[in-house]
């Protein structure tokens, strides 16, 4: 192959790897986006933070973490533990921690590295007596993510990490608001002065919403008829993305298009690509909706906090959630078999006083398409919120796209 062709291929790979993380800036090109204007909810002010500016301190932190990666090279054939140690690096942005490939977390870097190494080992070889290899529906497991990242050239990896960290740094205000409003963490002194993008109403401070009574008893977004089932076994990511974008633009685009944008391979789709593509390709991330989507580690979130997060997202942000459960029969008893980590589109809830909370989601996985021994079920489903919470917590990644 000629040198120019190699260069062209390399540039294309880099573009695909970095593309999803390139922020579009604080001002939106609304001319390219067509809000449907037909959402099934009553308009009310949202309280999401928009994209912030990249501060010098954040830029320096990104330089530090990316620079460390350039020094700590690791081979694609290295052990999962070695890959986890080299590729799981964390940045501190204004007191919040973002770990590459994991998202915003309150775990220590050492805890995250240990967890990632354990996940990678388990994904590569299930622990004897505790688990087995299962059918894959399309989320990218840790071992595959590490392999994929390790296979990049140092320059490609650095560019990808810089883009991911930059997007994270610019969304730190949203993380602070969620921690404050849902987990009761006090905002740091001067936060609102430093982050005008965090004010839904100029001059107003965010209000902690700690009770279900702070939210309407019922809310949902997106039209129930704008749903589809994945056409490949490993395309839950592209199909979830297809439905999320369809709900915004009121126009359906091919799953193959979303697979290309997400960088989906037969190993699946990374949740970091899901949130980055929502930010890049829809308006759900506008400040009057959810603000920039982030990957949030919910390992330390109680059920109460997790359920409030969904309520806030759907009733206040008026935007869908990237649910990230593990598709085990114990959580989804209608399935015929256990399956892997998975993406669904969270889009509704119901919380009547004294009653168990239910959530609504769009399910990309049509088991009948790939297994004729199972009946077809509807793509729109309602179910126990607690089951979905436990399915999210049981996923080795324990994260969600919000």
């Amino acid at each position: 192959m000629s040198r120019p062709r190699w260069i062209a291929i390399g540039a294309l790979v880099l573009l695909l790897a970095v593309g999803p993380f390139v922020p579009r800036g604080g001002d939106r090109d609304d001319g390219a986006i067509t809000p449907s204007g037909q959402q099934e909810y009553d308009a009310r002010p949202a309280a999401a933070a928009g994209l912030g500016e990249l501060t010098p301190a954040a830029a320096a932190e990104i330089d530090r973490v990316v620079g460390q990666g350039r020094r700590d090279t690791v081979a694609a054939r290295a052990t999962p533990a070695a890959q986890a140690a080299a590729l799981t690096r964390c940045a501190e942005f204004e007191g919040q921690r973002y770990c590459l490939g994991t998202g915003w977390t309150r775990s220590t870097p050492a805890e995250v590295r240990s967890r990632v190494a354990t996940e990678a080992r388990a994904a590569a070889q299930p622990v004897a007596g505790r688990a087995r290899r299962v059918e894959r529906t399309g989320d990218l497991d840790t071992a595959a993510r590490l392999r994929r990242t390790a296979a990049l050239t140092p320059a490609q990896r650095a560019a990808q990490e810089r883009a991911e960290l930059t997007a994270a740094a610019r969304s730190v205000a949203k993380v602070w608001l969620l921690r404050h409003e849902l987990q009761g963490v006090p905002l740091p002194a001067g936060f609102l002065e430093r982050h005008p993008e965090a004010r839904a109403i100029p001059g107003a401070a965010p209000v902690a919403r700690t009770s279900a009574k702070d939210y309407p008893p019922y809310a949902r977004v997106m039209k129930a008829r704008q749903v589809s089932s994945q056409t490949r076994t490993y395309w839950c990511g592209p199909t979830a993305m297809q439905m999320i974008a369809w709900g915004w633009r009121d126009k359906k685009r091919a799953q193959s298009r979303w697979a290309a944008r997400l960088g989906t391979t037969s190993d699946g789709t990374a949740i970091s690509s899901m949130v980055a593509t929502i930010n890049r390709s829809t308006g759900w991330d506008r400040p009057d909706h959810a603000g920039p989507y982030i990957v949030l580690d919910i390992g330390d979130w109680s059920y109460r906090q997790w359920s409030r997060l969904l309520m806030k997202h759907i009733a206040v942000y008026r935007a869908p959630v990237v649910l990230h459960p593990i598709l085990l029969k114990r959580f989804y008893p209608y399935l015929d078999d256990d399956a892997s980590g998975h993406f669904q589109v969270g889009r509704g809830y119901r919380q009547r006083p004294g009653k168990a909370m239910a959530i609504s989601y769009f399910e990309p996985w049509d088991q009948q398409r790939f297994d004729p021994s199972e009946p077809y079920i509807e793509r729109v489903q309602w179910r126990s919120a607690y089951k979905s919470y436990r399915a999210n917590k049981a996923h080795p990644h324990q994260n969600i796209g919000v």
């Binding site: 790939f370 297994d371 021994s373 077809y376 607690y386």
Partner: protein, 335 residues
């Protein structure tokens, strides 16, 4: 307090709601009662005693199945496991489902193992439903003409036969075997599928006389007659209403109340199913129908909570509860 929580053979008031919002995406109104009936009033027979639930040691997510002779299977490490007092059946399937399933049937008395796979006289196929009963097992098979069929293997002779075959553009799942017979859910390729439950009788599947067309999900038969579930709302596929044939025979339908799809099991001559919490503070419950009365025989730790599908080994039932009040795995003889 644990003993108190386990000992809850409370009479059950059946609340069978009937609402629908399939067109709008609104959740089903599980709380709205439409008819009320006390199933316990259908018989004067004394209900069986409540099971004496005992904790199972080890991680709760192992999905243990036990029997009275001390055999223990770990479900988490296999595609499916089945256990009776005399046999175990462990089914494996590689994740890509490109090869037929492989199952090992073990005679627990002699220790003899028999393999069922794609090379068997009546071969296995990829995926598909499996069930193990007191005298036979069933699995899916593909006939030489491509038909999707049910194979039956006699446990004493290992003689295998191909029986009922689904019509074109139809399939089946949810096989269950009890002393009273073998049942299936059959379905077509409509969206949603038209689902029918019935009993396997030779090369036929005979629909339950009182189960509705197209909306059923689970099925089994007891000596007292069929037990089945019906999906209330296709957009809440996990919630079903359970029904059973009463002592009056066909036409005498007893409402057993709300349950969770896929969780109906036969064990020790009775039917059991899971009921998710209906109220915020409710525990998850296990409900038993013994042919004459319906009772709650287990309550999880404090909710929110849910139960995994119960696992039967002969006369021993093992349960896993996931709850904010603490997860637990418990087991009890049920006959």
């Amino acid at each position: 307090m644990r003993a108190l929580r386990y000992a809850v053979p409370a009479a059950l008031l059946v609340l069978a709601g009937c609402s629908s919002d399939a067109g709008s995406g609104t959740p089903p109104d599980a709380d709205a009662p439409s008819t009320t009936e006390s199933a316990t009033g259908s018989s004067t027979a004394a209900p069986a005693p409540a099971p004496d639930w005992q904790p199972v040691d080890g991680p709760v997510d192992r999905a243990v199945t036990r029997n009275a002779r001390g055999t223990e299977l770990t479900g988490a490490t296999h595609r499916e496991t089945f256990l009776t007092e005399t046999h175990s059946l462990v089914v494996e399937q590689e994740p890509e489902e490109s090869e037929p399933a492989r199952a090992v049937l073990t005679d627990l008395e002699s220790g003899k193992e028999s393999v069922l796979d794609g090379d068997s006289e009546v071969p296995t196929t990829t995926g598909g439903t499996w069930a193990l009963g007191p005298g036979s097992l069933v699995h899916a098979t593909v006939a030489p003409d491509g038909s999707y069929c049910l194979a039956t293997v006699e446990l004493d002779t290992l003689a295998a036969t191909r029986g009922w075959c689904a019509p074109q553009r139809h399939g089946f799942t949810g096989a269950r075997i009890t002393d009273a017979g073998t049942t299936l859910q059959t379905f077509d390729d409509a969206r949603p599928s038209c689902r029918t439950v019935g009993t396997v009788e030779g090369t036929e599947v005979v629909p339950f006389a009182d189960a509705p067309a197209c909306t059923a999900w689970d099925a089994l038969v007891l000596d007292s007659g069929p037990v089945w579930s019906v999906v209330r709302n296709e957009r809440n596929i996990e919630q079903v209403d359970l029904f059973a044939q009463g002592p009056g025979g066909p036409g005498d339908v007893v409402e057993l109340g709300v349950g969770t799809s896929g969780t109906l099991v036969g064990c020790g001559g009775a039917a059991y199913f899971v009921r998710d919490p209906q109220d915020a503070s409710d525990p998850a419950r296990l409900v038993r129908w013994d042919g004459t009365s319906v009772e709650v025989v287990y309550e999880s730790p404090a909710g929110p909570a849910f139960l995994e599908t119960p696992r039967c080994g002969g006369d021993v039932l093992t349960l896993t509860a996931y709850a904010e009040g603490g997860d637990e795995q418990v087991s009890a003889r049920v006959r």
